[in-house]
Amino acid sequence: MKYLRFLLIIYFLQLSACDFASKDTNRDASVHQSTPIHFALSQAPLSLDPRVATDAASERVIRLIYQPLVDFDQNFKPTPKLADWQMVSATEYLVSLKSPRPLFHNQQPLNAEDVKATYDAILQLANSPLSAEYANIQKITVHDAEHLTFYLKQPDPYFAAKLIIGIMPKQLLEQQHDFARYPIGNGPLAFVKKNNKLVLRRVADGQIITLSEVKDPTVRVLKLLRGETDLLQGELPAELVKYLQTKPEVTVKTSPGANYSYLGLNMQDPMLSSLKVRQAIAHAIDRQALIDKVMVNHTRIAGAILPPEHYAGNHSLKAYDYNPQLAKRLLTEAGLSLPVKLIYKTSTDAQRVRIATILQAQMRPAGIELEIRSLDWGTFFEDVKQGNFQLFGLTWVGIKTPEIYTNVFASNHFPPNGFNRGRFSDATLDSLLEKEDWQAATDRIHEQLPYIPLWYEGQFAVSNKKITNYSPKPDGNWDDLATIRKYAH
């Protein structure tokens, strides 16, 4: 009996010890959770409603608050996220929701009705910039809580790659809930509040993450060095990134990017409609010097919109080398008298103007006198869309499907029916795009030069030493906020 009593005492002591230990563990966890992770952005998200958001910051946060049916893998192939799909025919897609699924942040379950309500809402919303992209949906039929079918008006073999809109609760959609300011999804981060900063809470462990706008790059860097912010990503001059790499108190992670920078040409311009002139421009740019001197690490010369590692990428495209003499000869052969005067439009962004100024200097020995017109973003982009340009510089961000080549270069995709802003028309390319022969199509585009390819800009993230589990992604998304950790010491 004595022995039994002794055992009981030991047992209760152990239990209480376990209890204390668990309290300690909780206290440690709460220390971590009560220490918010501060992320400084150059531009705050403008809207948190997946139906209307178009700016990069909003799209990156929306990916974390909501979850789509489909996402993309490392080779940019569509992969199931919330749902699997089956192409019954080119106009009929059966979608099956996976189980178990995370609940919405208001603790309601997500089902097929919510999916239908989300896509219906996009089609019904008058001011949604996505309406045109989903206009091909004829109807959506819900079979049960987990199955639904999308019926299309026209065959679309890439429709599954378009199922990337974050799903919203049907009940709140019907109540006209203000998702732009009070988003409710079922993603890894839940909205807490937004005042001068956006506050999010990680569903898995309650970790608070704040996103605040700090426009000036120098101030962002100083805030990081002083410990006022924990994390920065992108939007810094290359020199500042190199400077940060010398600082022992921060960690700089870089990775290759997939966002394609290019010069767009107006093919209806009498000069630029000549292939020799386009080739001359391609040979008048020293891309490698630009990359080495003013771009961040891991920036690489581009050949086509989709990078080589993409499943529709082209490994065989050879970069146009910098050869001002050849460029001059090509211009003369095109029957032009030197110097050739061209107008280059760009935004007022400091790095864009900097690159434009270098291009201007590089093209001068090739017999091209480049006049820079630096315009505010609204005016600049409107000019590009209207075809009111000779040359412009832009970047395609977050492109995942090879369908982009049709949208951008097919002769039946002039605005407003597509993004062929340079009004490029080539029967050979049209036929290749029709056949979806992406290798041959990208070869043809590289040869005909409706775009002058520049580079895929490298991605980088800078954090203080307390931060782990965060890396930059090729398209610059912030998905690792779902797993990021901050240690107290």
Binding site: P217, T218, V221, L222, P237, E239, L240, K242, Y243, A289, L290, D292, K293, V294, T348, A350, V353, R354, A356, T357, I358, Q360, A361, I372, S374
Partner: protein, 263 residues
């Protein structure tokens, strides 16, 4: 201090001439020396495109002087004319002209200049127009006040009774007495116009790339303050020295022209 300010002013005036004589190329890009600190080859270092900062400072000071002289000349002419008319005629003419002046004075000058520059668009010509549109009011106020008192001086009344016309009264009998005050005002105006030009260029509303302007250079330099502090210090120092020299010069000029001051 007096002579120091004159020396600095003289230095910058010589720099303007020197910049033209040496035929420097402030827009020559050299990617190999981006943000390089001062060296024997680049005395003030190189900027974010590898351009020689010294050449750009000299080109920038030329622009500053050009803008300041044109704007001061134009605004003084307009302001003095408005002030003379208002002060001489009084009554409704004075009321109307001073109401217009008060409307312009109700806004901070630089804010109004920013608004005009934004509407007109960036560029040297539009920058000068924007500054001219806002700069004349101080001259108008000053001239009007002085004219009101000078109008009743005996020599003016004598000339009027002898049959002198209004232009003669204004430009032969009143304006010469305003000259000293206006010259002092003009020196202060030179400095404020230079600062306004730099401010508008800093905001991207003034001189456009690749042309050099101290304001635009400061804007670029601030971006690289942590990596190349020499850039912001040199450009900021140049701007400060010139403005200080002009303001101090104005002070000494005012003292020299002040008739109430004992010898």
């Amino acid at each position: 201090m007096k002579y120091t300010s004159y020396l600095i002013l003289a230095f910058w005036l010589i720099a303007v001439l020197l910049g033209n004589v040496l035929q420097l190329n402030p827009n020559a890009i050299d990617l190999e020396v981006i943000l390089q600190a001062p060296t024997a080859q680049h005395w003030f270092g190189a900027d974010d495109l590898g351009r020689d900062i010294l050449a750009r400072v000299l080109s920038g000071v030329e622009v500053s002087f050009l803008v300041a002289l044109i704007v001061t000349g134009v605004t003084m002419t307009i302001g003095v004319f408005v002030g003379l008319l208002a002060g001489f005629y009084g009554g409704r003419v004075d009321a109307v002209l001073m109401q217009i002046t008060d409307i312009f004075l109700a806004f901070p000058g630089i804010l109004l200049a920013i608004a005009f520059a934004a509407v007109l668009g960036p560029g040297l010509g539009n920058l000068i127009v924007a500054l001219c549109l806002t700069g004349w009011v101080s001259y108008a106020r000053l001239t009007r006040g002085q004219t009101l008192s000078l109008r009743h001086r005996q020599h003016v009344q004598a000339a009027e009774s002898l049959g002198a016309g209004v232009p003669r009264l204004l430009f032969r009998h009143i304006l010469p007495l305003l000259a000293s005050i206006l010259v002092v005002e003009a020196t202060y105006s030179l400095a404020s116009v230079m600062i306004a030009e730099a401010s508008l260029s800093f905001l991207g509303l003034g001189i456009q790339a690749p042309d050099a302007s101290w304001g635009a250079m400061l804007r670029d330099a601030v971006r690289y303050m942590l990596i190349a502090p020499h850039y912001v210090l040199i450009v900021g120092g140049c701007l400060m020295s010139l403005i200080l020299a002009i303001n101090l010069g104005g002070d000494y000029l005012r003292d020299a022209l002040d008739v109430r001051k004992p010898d």
